[in-house]
């Protein structure tokens, strides 16, 4: 049985969590990650008690956005000075800095009080799974992924694909490559030049 001193250290220790953001939505991931930064997963939680943990997010370059959001979702920024407004689509921001989208989603998820900057300092973002050794040594636990990752068809084995039950059999006179006959263009395409 450990002494009270050790139990005290264990209760108030700051743990380092790992989160794999590959094929996960950044906004839903932020919803999942922020409580760990705040310390809401602990029974000793109080916002002013500074009981939040570190979170290391890896593979931020592989995050997935919903449907058209890479193209349509815009991030806005204003420097505060006149003419200081700027905006950029999500894909442009991601192109420039692959960790920025994840960072912004977590930042906007936390409440805009004086504690926010402190929490953001405890968030460590990496585009790949290459983490410095000093940080990797501290990591002790992992946060579960938010979304199921869909499997591509080429990731299934050939046996699985062939043995999977089929919904219909080919009809008698059906030619599989018959559509190619109609797709060929015999005459060259006429181009009008002015």
């Amino acid at each position: 049985m450990a002494t009270q001193r050790v139990l005290q250290w264990r209760a108030f220790a700051r743990t380092w969590w790992l989160y794999d953001a590959a094929n996960q939505c950044p906004f839903v991931s932020a919803y999942r990650v922020v409580p760990y930064l705040q310390g809401k997963h602990k029974p000793i939680f109080h916002p002013l008690s500074d009981v939040g943990d570190h979170v290391v997010v890896i593979n931020t370059k592989d995050i997935a956005m919903q449907a058209d959001y890479w193209r349509t979702f815009t991030f806005f920024h204003h420097t505060g000075y006149p003419g200081g407004f700027s905006k950029a689509s999500a894909w442009r921001v991601h192109e420039i800095d692959p960790t920025r989208v994840m960072q912004l989603s977590v930042y906007s998820r936390i409440k805009g009080n004086l504690l926010r900057k402190g929490l953001m300092r405890r968030l460590h973002l990496f585009p790949d799974d290459k983490i410095p050794d000093e940080i990797l040594e501290n990591v002790s636990d992992q946060i579960r992924q938010v979304q199921p990752v869909a499997k591509r068809l080429d990731q299934y084995s050939e046996e699985e694909v062939t043995e999977f039950p089929k919904f219909f059999d080919w009809p008698e006179d059906f030619v599989k490559d018959g559509y190619k006959r109609h797709m060929t263009r015999k005459k060259p395409k006429r181009r009008y030049t002015v």
């Binding site: 997935a64 449907a67 591509r152 080429d154 694909v161």
Partner: protein, 195 residues
């Protein structure tokens, strides 16, 4: 409704314009026929039926049915002195041998087995695609129209999420494709859909 070719001898009614007067005339006729004793109560039509109505000259009636012909009746009226017999005889239809019939009623396999597909069910969706990435016609797959439309949206989603890399049209140059995903601007990055 079939109009009988026989006229009722007792009265000839010219159809008046208003509905009220028309209904009154009908009731008068029915009452007339009630007073004369009706023989053969079994095969006679019911008293309130429209077959008792007289023939109207300028009305065109057509029987129209695309489905199989059901019970066909012909109304016959016979008068023997004081007795009028109005009979609805069940006849055989002349079109019975020519009616369209399905030998084996085929149902939609998707509706029976797996009606609620997701865009991630790639093993199932790939069965309904040709090498191009286009959907196969319904005559081949035996799928109902509603499911075909559903397949269209699901396949579109699966392709945009990059889950069907083999089912893409061939390049114009004829060379094989190297990347499983396009490198154009936003198409480089991962996409997911909510079911």
């Amino acid at each position: 409704m079939r109009w009988s070719s026989h006229t009722i001898e007792s009265s000839k009614v010219h159809f008046p314009i208003s509905v009220e007067r028309r209904t009154k005339a009908m009731l008068r006729l029915i009452w007339h026929n009630l007073r004369a004793p009706l023989h053969s109560a079994k095969s006679a039509t019911s008293i309130g039926s429209p077959s008792i109505l007289p023939v109207v000259q300028n009305v065109q009636t057509r029987t129209f049915s695309v489905s199989s012909a059901a019970r066909l009746k012909q109304i016959e009226q016979v008068t023997d002195g004081n007795v009028t017999k109005i009979e609805g005889k069940i006849m055989e239809s002349e079109r019975a041998p020519y009616v369209f019939k399905e030998e084996e009623p085929k149902g939609c396999t998707l509706c029976k087995i797996h009606p609620y597909l997701k865009y991630t069910d790639v093993l199932i969706l790939s069965q309904f695609l040709r090498e191009d990435g286009c959907l196969l016609p319904r005559q081949v797959t035996g799928v109902c129209w509603g499911q075909q439309r559903r397949l269209e949206t699901l396949v579109n989603k699966a392709q945009r999420a990059g889950l069907l890399p083999q089912f893409r049209p061939a390049l114009k140059s004829g060379k094989p494709r190297t990347n499983h995903r396009s490198n154009y601007k936003w198409k480089r990055y991962n996409v997911y859909f909510r079911n």
